[in-house]
């Protein structure tokens, strides 16, 4: 094995330098539990794979859906991803976390597939998103001129300590939030799912998506704001109903 055999996937966000085949010696840069997991995976431990697949399935499918717009195709993309993971596990160098590497492979495959299946361009998922242009929050909620220019004209109504719990307990609120997430343009959905749903470190999200941190926060904030708006609308509806 030499540098030339390093897969394109392995080099996501990293320089494509390959180490000698390290399948018996897990990379030192990974935390211990991740090293143990990797060792099991490299022994083709079915249970280890099963746990990993189950753990990431939801997030992988949701993200793939954003790119291909079709549940069945998304399933195929995710399945292809795991096949690639199994095939190239020996070449995984451990300079990113295992999860970053797996999601990176999926994004590659989903993008390829999304380009091939361009017929989905009418999907809201493909809404073009111009992050330089769009304000996160509706500009009409701020004073436009005068002494208070740029300050809230219509500030958000405060939530109390119990609001998050109540939201989670309400099927309607949960549905409103899930719908808002599903309706996000793919560039926003990717960052929200990786950073907030999966809890991937900001730096790793940038590696997976090949974006800058500034970009990440612009997108992440717009995504969160759209979910916040959905909650706000839901709460306004509740108030009117009282």
């Amino acid at each position: 094995m030499n540098a030339a055999t390093t897969t394109r996937r392995e080099s996501i966000g990293q320089s494509p330098r390959a180490l000698p085949n390290t399948s018996s010696v897990p990379p030192r840069s990974l935390p211990n539990d991740e090293q143990r997991l990797l060792a099991r995976l490299r022994q083709s431990d079915e249970q280890a794979f099963d746990e990993l697949v189950t753990k990431h399935h939801g997030a992988l499918i949701r993200m793939a859906m954003g790119h291909v717009g079709d549940r069945e195709v998304a399933e195929e993309v995710v399945q292809d991803t795991w096949m690639a993971v199994i095939e190239s596990l020996d070449r995984f160098e451990g300079r990113s976390s295992l999860r970053t590497w797996i999601f990176g492979i999926m994004i590659h495959k989903a993008k390829d597939r999304g380009v091939r299946e361009k017929r989905h361009t009418t999907f809201s998922d493909f809404e073009t998103f111009d992050e330089e242009q769009e304000d996160a929050v509706d500009p009409s909620r701020f004073h436009r001129s005068g002494e208070w220019a740029g300050h809230w004209a219509f500030p958000p109504q405060p939530w109390d300590d119990q609001t998050p719990e109540r939201l989670l307990a309400s099927q309607q609120a949960v549905q409103a939030m899930n719908r808002a997430i599903e309706a996000l343009p793919v560039t926003l959905k990717d960052v929200l799912i990786l950073r907030d749903v999966e809890g991937v470190e900001a730096k790793q999200v940038c590696d997976i998506l090949q974006i800058t941190e500034t970009n990440l926060y612009v997108r992440l904030h717009r995504a969160r704001e759209r979910v916040r708006r959905a909650v706000e609308t839901y709460l306004e509806g509740c108030q009117r109903a009282v």
Partner: protein, 89 residues
């Protein structure tokens, strides 16, 4: 665009700017000057206080949302394909 560093900490920041910086601020991904500027604003502005709190809640909520597409049976096909591939390896 709110994401520039040209504004000095002594200048006041508007609510509209605070809003744009919220997620970076919550992740401690803003410079020291900007952080102080935002903290100062938040201490005096109820609207932005509520807004930042809500974005933090949303950040935590999306992780806890029950997923309709996430049940074990949904991943069954993929898990079987993985198991089959491992046995062929």
């Amino acid at each position: 665009m709110a994401h520039d560093a040209s504004q000095s900490v002594h200048e006041e920041i508007t609510c509209r700017e605070v809003v744009e910086w919220t997620s970076a601020y919550l992740d401690a991904h803003v410079g020291e000057d900007r952080k102080q500027q935002i903290a100062l604003h938040l201490a005096a502005c109820a609207g932005c206080g509520a807004y930042v709190g809500q974005i933090a809640s949303v950040r935590d909520l999306v992780r806890l949302l029950p997923q309709t597409v996430d049940s074990p049976s949904e991943s069954e096909q993929v898990r079987q394909a993985v198991a089959a591939k491992l046995r062929r390896q």
